[in-house]
Amino acid sequence: MTVVAVGKDARSRTMTLEAEFDAAPERVWQLWADPRQLERWWGPPTYPATVDAHDLRPGGRVEYHMRGPEGDLHRGFWEVDEVRPPHRLVFRDGFANEDGTPNGELPMTTLRVTIEEIGGGKTRMSIVSEFPTVEAMEQLAAMGMWGLPQTVGQIDAILAEDPPEAGGGGR
């Protein structure tokens, strides 16, 4: 497991994931910069991704689609804000309609990727995901996105807690 840390901060609506790789920053950068490599990891095996456009420059756009097990099509795009190879990538990830136009009803997630050499031939990558509002997090949680682990926690808490006293006393 190369994930070294996962942190969530409800107040700033961010999730931070850190991972380490036995490779140079330039190699890790290629995972984002090479569309053929990107499509090999972005979609889950059941939702393979195809990158349709990949303009990794500030103001540029990356477009992708994913095919679900039922043949269902899901389109998404990135709006690229900052590109500093091989150390920094900032983009907003959004949903698109079937015709490729942005779906304005679904929230966009801002992702900030930082790639740094940490010595010993290793590279640390941190990905900070930020949601515009709490409502957006809830909306994405309901879709099976990033907010879900929070719901996992809620269900865990429900199952772990002792049942309250019956008979109306309450707590």
Binding site: M1, T2, V3, V6, L17, A19, F21, D22, A23, R27, V28, L31, Q37, R40, W41, W42, G43, P44, Y47, M66, G68, D72, H74, G76, F95, I127, E138, A141, A142, M143, G144, M145, W146, L148, P149, T151, V152, Q154, I155, D156, I158, L159, E161, P163, P164, A166, G167, G168, G170
Partner: protein, 108 residues
């Protein structure tokens, strides 16, 4: 990326409210009816009834007749199924990192 089947979408929506989460907790031991549940909350009987209806539609609780009483019971199996499913979702980014690692290892 929409992965959750509709029932789970509905379940997450139902669990997004703290009163409804509390109702589910109380319904785990299946001893209270709607009126008893309603007495715990500073809101009207009909408001609590509406919350219970939302939980019922999400499959999280059922009303069950025990003798002459009707009690609200949590569907613990559904909760466990959701947790198992959600554990997989939690792995989504971890799985992405694993795929990244494999790609780097394959083509250093």
């Amino acid at each position: 990326m929409k992965i959750a089947p509709p029932d789970f979408d509905r379940m997450f929506g139902a669990l997004a409210d703290s009163t409804r989460r509390d109702i589910v907790r109380r319904a785990i031991d299946a001893r209270e009816g709607v009126a008893e549940l309603a007495s715990h909350y500073p809101m009207s009987f009909s408001a609590v009834q509406k919350h219970i209806a939302i939980l019922e539609r999400a499959g999280l609780v059922t009303k069950r007749r025990i003798g002459r009483r009707k009690v609200v019971r949590a569907n613990v199996e559904v909760l466990r199924a959701a947790r198992r499913l959600l554990d997989r979702y939690e792995e989504l980014w971890r799985a992405r990192i694993d795929r990244m690692t494999a790609i780097v290892a394959e083509d250093p």
